[in-house]
C-alpha cells in the first residue's frame, strides 16, 4: 500500500475550507472514484475527532471493499472474518464496556453471511454502533448479487436481472432490526448529496453519543453507490441511487429513542 504524506498547506490569500481530521491517516483511499465508502469513512472519522474520542474508540472492519479500513482510520481496529464483525465487536465491548465500539460492514457482510450475528447482536442490545453500507452489490469480489440488490438489477450472478421469484427480494434488514427491543436508534442515511452528507454525519454523532447511555444498539444504514459494480460513472450512479435505491430504501429515522418522561 503506498503511503504518501500530504501536508495540508493553505496558500496565502485562500481560506482553508476543508481539513482532513487527525483520525484519518495519510494513506490514500483505494476506493474507486466516486465511491460512497470514502465519504462514509471521512464522516465517521470527523465525528470521532469532533467528539474527542479517538483514544477511546475501537473499530471493527469487515470483509468487503472496506476490508482495509484500518489503513485509513487512525484508531485501534480489529479485522473480522466475513460476516462476523458484530460478533467481534460484541467481544470487544464486553471486555471494554466503557470504550466506544463500532462495526463497519457492507450488505453482503452484514445482511447475507453475517445475518445471524447481526440479528443477535442487536437483539442482545449490544452497546455498539453498527454502520451498514448498503450499495446493493458485492463490490469487493467483482459485482455479484447482494441481499439488498434491487429487483431486476443486473449483477454478475444475476446477469439477466435479479428475479425475485428465483433469488428472493431486496432485504430491508434495517426495518427488521428496528423491531428488536435491543435496538435503541435505527436510521437510514445517504452520502450522495451535500445535504445528505450533513444529515448522515449528525446521525453518526448521535450514534456515538447514545452509546454512552448504554441503552442498546445504534444502527445506521448508509445507502451508497458502487460505480464500478453498477458499471456507471460516479455522477450517473448517484442519480441512479436517488431514483432507484431510495425508493426501496427510503431515508430517515426508523426508530428513535423515547424521550425521558415520555411513555414506556
Amino acid at each position: 500500500m503506498e503511503t504518501e504524506v500530504l501536508t495540508p498547506e493553505v496558500q496565502e490569500g485562500f481560506d482553508c475550507v476543508y481539513n482532513k481530521p487527525d483520525t484519518l491517516t495519510d494513506t490514500r483511499f483505494h476506493y474507486c472514484p466516486g465511491c460512497g465508502h470514502g465519504v462514509a469513512h471521512r464522516l465517521l472519522m470527523e465525528v470521532i475527532a469532533e467528539l474527542g474520542i479517538q483514544e477511546e474508540t475501537i473499530g471493527v472492519a469487515p470483509v468487503g471493499c472496506s476490508v482495509f479500513a484500518y489503513h485509513y482510520m487512525n484508531i485501534d481496529m480489529q479485522e473480522a472474518a466475513h460476516g462476523r464483525a458484530s460478533a467481534v465487536a460484541t467481544g470487544v465491548k464486553r471486555v471494554l464496556p466503557d470504550k466506544y465500539v463500532f462495526s463497519y460492514q457492507g450488505d453482503g457482510d452484514l445482511a447475507a453471511i453475517g445475518t445471524a450475528e447481526t440479528i443477535h447482536t442487536v437483539n442482545r442490545g449490544e452497546n455498539i454502533l453498527m454502520i451498514f453500507i448498503n450499495n446493493g452489490i458485492y463490490g469487493m469480489t467483482g459485482g455479484q448479487m447482494a441481499p439488498t440488490t434491487l429487483a431486476n438489477m443486473v449483477t454478475s450472478t444475476s446477469p439477466y436481472g435479479r428475479s425475485t421469484e428465483w433469488a428472493g427480494f431486496p432485504l430491508k434488514i434495517t426495518e427488521m432490526l428496528a423491531m428488536l427491543p435491543g435496538a435503541y436508534y435505527v436510521t437510514r442515511q445517504a452520502v450522495h448529496t451535500p445535504n445528505s452528507v450533513r444529515k448522515a454525519k449528525k446521525a453518526i454523532k448521535l450514534g456515538f453519543e447514545y452509546q454512552k447511555l448504554k441503552r442498546g444498539t445504534c444502527f445506521i444504514e448508509i445507502v451508497s453507490n458502487c460505480p464500478s459494480g453498477w458499471k456507471m460513472n460516479p455522477v450517473d450512479s448517484n442519480k441512479w441511487l436517488e431514483a432507484n435505491m431510495l425508493t426501496m430504501y427510503p431515508l430517515g429515522d426508523i426508530k428513535v429513542p423515547v424521550k425521558e418522561g415520555q411513555g414506556e
Binding site: 476490508v67 453471511i113 458485492y138 469487493m140 439477466y160
Partner: protein, 359 residues
C-alpha cells in the same frame, strides 16, 4: 466420444464440465479466485438444464448441498479457502450420511483472510478431513485446465460409486489461467436417482432417512466400519498418479497440482544438465499413491517434495518412503509460486551434496 475444443479459464471449464456431466444443482457463495464458477453457471442457467442458487453464506451453501444430495440429485459447490473452512461442519455431516457430491476448493494463500493468490495450503484440510470425526474425502488434484474439466466427471463418478463427498483441490492459478480444453459431450455421464434418496415414500417401502445421528455407540461404530471399508477399497482400487521419468531417476520430485507443472519443467532443465531427475505426481491425494512411492524409493537415491505451502504432502511422502531414502522439501507460502529455476537450483544443490557424496 467427440470432444469440443475450447480455450477456457480453469474455473469456467470446471463449470461447463459440470453442466455437461449432468449436474442438477449448484449452491455457492462468491469468493475470489473462484467466483467465475457461479457467474458462468448463472449465465448459462436459462439455456441449460440445471439450477444454481447463490446462498447467503458457505455455511448455508453446504447445507443446501446436503439437502439436494439427500434428495438424490447430482450436486456441486465450489469455494476458496476461507469459504471451504466454513463448509467443514457440513462436509463432516455429508460424509457421515454417505451423500455423494462434488466440492471444489480453488485454494488461495492463508491462513486467515490471507491473499487471493494461488496456494496449496489446504492439503491437510482436504486430505486429512477438515471437519470433525473419522472421515475422508476423495481428493483429485488437477494440474491443467483440461483436468479441471475432466475431474468433474471423475469426481461425480467416484462420489456416486463410493457414496461420499469428492473434492477437486485446485488453486487460484489453475482457476484463472486459460488453456486448451477438450470437453466431453453433454449426457455422457448418466445418472439415476439412487434408491436410498429421500424423495417421498411410496406405500411399499420403508422411509428413507438421511442422517448422521446414531446415539448407540455400537451402531455408530458400525457406521465407522462402513466408512473405513470404503476408504480401504478406494486405497486399493482408485489410486491415480502420473509418472514422469522416474524409472532411471536418481532424484525424484514429488508434487501435486500446479507445482507439478513447475517441477516438470525443472526436471526437463535438470535433464538437460545431465542430472537424472524425475517426477511423481499424485493425482488422487486421497487415496494417496503410497505403494508407488515406496516402489520408487527402492531405485531412487533421494526425494525432493515441492509444494506451495509449509510442507504438508511431504508428510505422506515420508510415510511412504519410510526412511529408505532422504526426503527433502522445498516450499513457497502465502500465495507465491516457485519458479522452475528455483526448483532447478534446489535439484542442483541436492545432486551436488547428496548424490556426489553417495556415489
Amino acid at each position: 466420444m467427440e470432444r469440443e475444443i475450447r480455450l477456457m479459464k480453469g474455473n469456467e471449464a470446471m463449470a461447463e464440465a459440470a453442466i455437461r456431466a449432468g449436474m442438477k444443482a449448484y449452491f455457492g457463495y462468491p469468493i475470489t479466485p473462484q467466483s467465475e464458477v457461479m457467474e458462468y453457471l448463472f449465465e448459462q442457467m436459462p439455456k441449460r438444464n440445471f439450477k444454481v442458487l447463490q446462498a447467503e453464506s458457505e455455511v448455508a451453501a453446504i447445507n443446501m448441498i446436503y439437502g439436494a444430495a439427500g434428495s438424490g440429485a447430482r450436486v456441486m459447490t465450489s469455494s476458496s479457502s476461507p469459504g471451504m473452512s466454513l463448509m467443514q461442519e457440513g462436509i463432516s455431516y455429508i460424509a457421515a450420511a454417505e451423500l455423494p457430491c462434488l466440492l471444489a476448493n480453488i485454494v488461495r494463500g492463508g491462513p486467515g483472510l490471507g491473499t487471493i493468490q494461488p496456494s496449496q495450503g489446504d492439503y491437510f484440510q482436504a486430505v486429512k478431513g477438515g471437519g470433525h470425526g473419522d472421515y475422508k474425502l476423495i481428493v483429485l488434484a488437477p494440474n491443467s485446465v483440461q483436468e479441471m474439466a475432466d475431474f468433474v466427471f471423475d469426481g461425480f463418478k467416484l462420489a456416486e460409486k463410493f457414496r461420499g463427498p469428492a473434492m477437486i483441490l485446485s488453486d487460484g492459478a489453475l482457476g484463472q489461467m486459460m488453456e486448451k480444453v477438450a470437453l466431453l459431450p453433454e449426457g455422457s455421464l448418466p445418472h439415476t436417482v439412487p434408491a436410498w434418496a429421500a424423495t417421498g415414500k411410496p406405500a411399499n417401502r420403508p422411509p428413507n432417512v438421511i442422517t448422521s445421528l446414531y446415539i448407540e455407540p455400537e451402531k455408530m461404530e458400525m457406521i465407522n466400519h462402513t466408512l473405513q471399508a470404503k476408504y480401504k477399497q478406494l486405497q486399493k482400487e482408485e489410486v491415480r498418479y502420473e509418472d514422469y521419468q522416474t524409472e532411471d531417476a536418481d532424484i525424484v520430485l514429488t508434487a501435486f497440482g500446479l507445482s507439478s507443472r513447475i517441477c516438470q519443467k525443472a526436471v526437463d532443465l535438470a535433464r538437460e544438465q545431465g542430472i537424472k531427475a524425475g517426477l511423481l505426481r499424485p493425482i488422487t491425494l486421497f487415496p494417496f499413491p503410497e505403494k508407488k512411492i515406496a516402489e520408487i524409493a527402492e531405485t531412487a537415491k533421494v526425494f525432493l517434495d515441492v509444494e506451495m505451502n509449509a510442507g504438508q504432502m511431504v508428510e505422506d511422502v515420508r510415510l511412504a518412503v519410510n526412511g529408505k531414502k532422504p526426503v527433502y522439501f522445498k516450499g513457497r507460502m502465502g500465495g507465491i509460486i516457485p519458479s522452475p529455476e528455483e526448483i532447478l537450483h534446489e535439484i542442483e544443490q541436492i545432486s551436488e551434496q547428496v548424490l556426489s557424496y553417495q556415489n
